[in-house]
């Protein structure tokens, strides 16, 4: 945004290509929920919408486009996208398995689940299987402590997990 010097650093975004009309419409539905001067409150929803439209992960260009659309500094969008575990900044598998390793889940044996998942998928936390089917992630508290250990996958929580239950769930996925 600064005089000239910016030019080399920041590529100008072609909004129509990066944020197509239908995506912008979806973001607009969230924007109207907030006072006009707090347009940036829609950043979480906007990033989710954009990510879902891009095979589950965010590119720099997409984050920059969201920043421009919500009129906020680019770095502020990067802050949000790196803070929350539901955003991914690298390509991910078709299914993102988010295993909670916070206190309640730890007490209820999430380590066993983690070990099982890593062994079955042959990946560590933050990695994607070679066939591009699964990405295994370690996430912070999912707020479902009553039914720990918990895994977050797609739009669902899978609760009171055991290694057997995990196998059952994964076997049922394409």
């Amino acid at each position: 945004m600064l005089f000239f010097a910016r030019r080399g650093d920041f590529e100008i975004i072609n909004m129509t290509n990066v944020l197509p009309e239908n995506i912008r419409q979806q973001i607009d539905e969230w924007i109207v929920k907030y006072p006009p001067e707090q347009r940036q409150s829609a950043v979480l929803s906007a990033l989710t919408i954009v990510q879902n439209n891009n095979n589950g992960w965010l590119t720099e260009e997409l984050m920059d486009a969201v920043a421009e659309y919500l009129n906020m500094p680019r770095i502020a969008v990067y802050e949000v996208a790196t803070f929350y575990t539901m955003y991914d900044l690298k390509p991910v598998g078709r299914h993102k398995i988010g295993l909670c390793t916070n206190v309640s889940c730890m007490l209820m044996g999430c380590e066993k689940i983690a070990k099982h998942l890593k062994k079955r998928l042959g990946v560590e936390f933050g990695e994607t299987t070679a066939d591009g089917k699964f990405t295994l992630k370690e996430v912070e508290c999912l707020g479902a402590c009553a039914s720990a250990p918990v895994v977050h996958m797609g739009d669902h929580y899978y609760e009171n997990l055991t290694p057997e239950k995990i196998d059952e769930i994964l076997d049922g996925l394409k």
Partner: protein
């Protein structure tokens, strides 16, 4: 006011103020990292925990407002325990590499941990480490040391108005970073070095060159803009190591622009001249002062006797000290030479006899932020006077409306209520339109000849909007920036600004270039007036005319016409033809070696005593921090001895204070009539005879004077625009030119070959070309039509 008690003592406090503010005011120490009086309250470091009576837990002093009768204990057992625990947490991930850290010895973390930390760490796990960012040539990073106080982030958000740093990640993985690799490009970026309480952000040019305890500090004044920011020069024995801000709430607050902070790096540039040089039989030779001064005096005398005083011009930089300006004009005027000037980039000075005693801001610098409506004319204020830009931003955050008429849509860090982006030759018509719209409703009594000039003008919708904005609000200010002053019709613009000011009861201010334009006017470094506005028997030539007039001799003080002149091609041609050219300069440059016959080495700003008068008319004197290198001497001393060499009377000053006081007496006694409010209105409402593509020229932030041009870190900074021909997409298309292609810029016989940059911010039909660069030094006039070909 309410009464509170801190550590058993009773104090009066402003209701709503925070405990830490009250404690700071009365001098009770409370440790802190994230709190800074100029930034918003984050309360994230927790170091300032204190005990508050009846509160169950210790409270952060920075975020707890005082209430009547509040009893605060800053060093009770409970407070101390809390502070020590926080300290222990903060040190968990800090590397404790003080011996190899540049901040060591002036580190807030080091100081506070000495008071509150333990000798031994109980943390046996591995410490985290963080990858460094490359923030460019000005700021060095060592992000492992960061304690995440977020002062730097808040500074960029709140003060700089442009956030490039942020806190990414979460928990233990949180990092202060730009995330996407790029150099920081704000013109006040260096302030985050001062703000950083640890050694995470340090000054790259200063890094590893000295320890804080080896340094002495000398008070000084920044030499690059008309604000007169207060600085400390930090020196080790006779070497300037760095420059830091000296707090002055009425000028620069606690801040400093990067230009003022880093320009000192030029002081030790390899181009520094250590000995006088003279050209004998076309061969340059180093010599001693006696020989050099005799050579210069003889040379000037010869031209004087042969051709008379009208064939000599003496031109000084607007950043020369008041004493230098005064002695230069005194020396020249005693010899009968009137062509003395400092208005480096100005071309239209036809209204100079109506000018006030000195060009002034009209208000105090601290009052900038109190204005309700501000009209900027031809001003890139954020780059020209970063501190003034910051004050304007503060005004807008308070709700002020800022209007601008510019030839480039400068991206500024404040909101513009309305803007007109147009070719410079349209400024006049736009201003006339605003004046006309205002005159319809104004009750101001205007001379009919002025109103007649506006007769044909039909205000456009946007001009009406400007007028409406200017009619509302109480405190109103019109500011003329560099492009307005350097404009080929500057006199008309000044007249129109005055007219709009009268019609809307707004004050009119001038943001002059250089540090000491006001001082130069007062000292008489203008061709039509002596010191304190005294009348001269005859006017001399102004800088631009004089430099283009092929005079027989020139005396240059601190300027390099190929970079500084408004028409470098004409100036260099004149200088090459001249019989005798003398330059007083701290640097030996190719240009000076080409066209001068003698170069006298003078001191840089850290090496001379002197006085700067800022835009509000404030006189600020300073002393030399160190001696000039080699045989270089302060400019005022060189002029004084040259005066002796020429056997002039009253040239017996021993100190620069004597020079200043002699002028001060004259200025204090000066009775100066108020300027004619509407001088020279002839050009009003007429479009200049401009055809084809119009050139817009600025001397960019790091090309403005010889010091910044010699400062490598500033030259390498991302804030420094690449040298090119900038134009918008439409013009490039019309000319069938590609972005990035090399094009030829032609101005009569002058030309230059430059890359083309397509930039949407340039006004239609115009090209923006920076001056003060070697690549553009062969070009002609700063404004006017140019030809662009492949």
């Amino acid at each position: 006011m309410i009464e509170i008690e801190i550590d058993g003592k009773t104090f009066q406090a402003e209701p709503g103020s925070m405990i830490i503010e009250v404690a700071d005011k009365v001098g009770i120490p409370i440790p802190r990292f994230c709190y800074h009086k100029k930034l918003s309250i984050a309360a994230n470091c927790r170091m300032c925990l204190v005990e508050v009576e009846k509160a169950p837990k210790p409270m952060p002093a920075c975020a707890t407002p005082v209430t009547p009768g509040m009893k605060i204990l800053t060093c009770s057992q409970k407070a101390r325990e809390a502070q020590k625990s926080v300290m222990e947490f903060l040190l968990i991930n800090h590397p404790l590499d003080c011996p190899i850290c540049d901040q060591g010895g002036e580190c807030e973390l080091q100081d506070v941990s000495l008071g509150y930390g333990k000798g031994i760490s109980r943390f046996t796990e591995g410490k985290r480490s963080v990858k460094d960012d490359d923030l460019g040539p000005l700021i060095a990073t060592e992000m492992t040391r960061c304690i995440q106080c977020t002062r730097c982030v808040r500074f960029e958000q709140e003060v700089a108005g442009f956030r490039e740093l942020g806190a990414t990640g979460r928990g233990e993985n949180m990092e202060i970073t730009t995330f996407i690799k790029h150099s920081i490009s704000h013109e006040m970026s260096g302030n985050i070095i001062d703000l950083c309480p640890v050694g995470a952000l340090t000054s790259k040019p200063y890094r590893f060159s000295a320890r804080a305890w080896e340094l002495d500090q000398v008070e000084a004044v920044a030499p690059h803009d008309c604000i007169g920011s207060n600085i400390y020069v930090h020196k080790r024995v006779q070497e300037v190591m760095r420059v830091v801000p000296r707090e002055n709430e009425t000028l620069n607050e606690t801040w400093l622009s990067d230009r003022d902070r880093y320009a000192y790096t030029a002081v030790n540039s390899p181009a520094r001249l250590h000995k006088p040089m003279i050209k004998v039989n076309n061969v340059w030779q180093e010599t001693d002062w006696a020989t050099a001064l005799e050579f210069v005096a003889d040379g000037l005398q010869k031209v004087l006797t042969q051709y008379g005083p009208k064939q000599i011009g003496a031109f000084a930089a607007p950043s020369a000290t008041t004493e230098e300006h005064y002695l230069l004009q005194k020396l020249m005027r005693t010899l009968g030479i009137n062509s003395v000037d400092h208005r480096l980039h100005q071309t239209d000075v036809s209204d100079q006899k109506y000018a006030p005693l000195y060009p002034s801001l009209g208000i105090k610098i601290e009052e900038l932020e109190l204005q309700d409506t501000i009209l900027l004319i031809g001003s890139n204020i954020q780059r020209e006077q970063p501190i003034a830009g910051h004050r304007i931003r503060k005004a807008t955050l308070r709700g002020a409306q800022v209007l601008s008429i510019n030839a480039v849509d400068y991206p500024v860090n404040f909101n513009l209520a309305e803007k007109i982006i147009t070719a410079p030759d349209h400024f006049n018509l736009n201003l006339a339109g605003i004046a006309k719209a205002l005159s319809a409703q104004s009750k101001a009594d205007l001379p009919t000849q002025i109103l007649d000039l506006l007769k044909e003008i039909q205000p456009s919708a946007i001009e009406q909007k400007f007028a409406a904005q200017l009619s509302s609000g109480e405190k109103k200010l019109i500011l003329l920036g560099a492009v307005a002053q350097n404009h080929p019709e500057a006199a008309t613009l000044r007249a129109l600004a005055q007219l709009i000011g009268t019609l809307s009861s707004a004050k009119v201010g001038c943001l002059t270039e250089g540090a000491n334009s006001a001082g130069a006017w007062l000292a008489g470094a203008v061709p039509h007036r002596g010191p304190a506005g005294a009348a001269l028997p005859e006017s001399g030539l102004a800088m631009n005319t004089g430099l283009g007039a092929s005079l027989r001799a020139y005396f240059l003080l601190g300027i390099e016409p190929e970079f500084d002149a408004a028409n470098p091609a004409a100036a260099v041609a004149s200088l090459n033809k001249a019989e005798f050219v003398v330059a007083c300069s701290p640097f030996k440059t190719d240009g000076l070696l080409q066209y001068t016959h003698a170069i006298l080495p003078i001191a840089a700003f850290t090496e001379t005593s002197g006085t700067y008068v800022n835009a509000e008319g404030r006189w600020q004197s300073f002393n030399a921090a160190v001696a000039a290198p080699g045989e270089a001497r302060p400019g005022w001393k060189v002029l004084r001895v040259l005066g002796n060499q020429l056997n002039l009377a009253d040239f017996d000053y021993v100190t620069s204070e004597q020079v200043r006081d002699e002028l001060r007496v004259l200025v204090d006694a000066a009775v100066f009539p108020l300027p004619n409010p509407h001088p020279k209105g002839d050009g009003i409402g007429k479009r200049a005879e401009g055809k084809g593509i119009m050139r817009i020229t600025e001397w960019p932030i790091y090309s403005i004077d010889n010091m910044v041009r010699q400062s490598q870190p500033l030259q390498d900074s991302a804030t420094n625009e690449p040298t090119a021909v900038y134009m918008n997409e439409k013009l490039a298309k019309d000319l069938q030119l590609q972005d990035g292609a090399m094009v030829k810029v032609i101005q009569g016989s002058a030309q230059a070959e430059l890359p083309l940059m397509v930039d949407a911010r340039i006004a239609a039909g115009c090209v923006w070309i920076p001056a003060g660069r070697p690549e553009t030094a062969t070009l002609g006039a700063a404004f006017g039509s140019v030809e662009i070909i492949m």
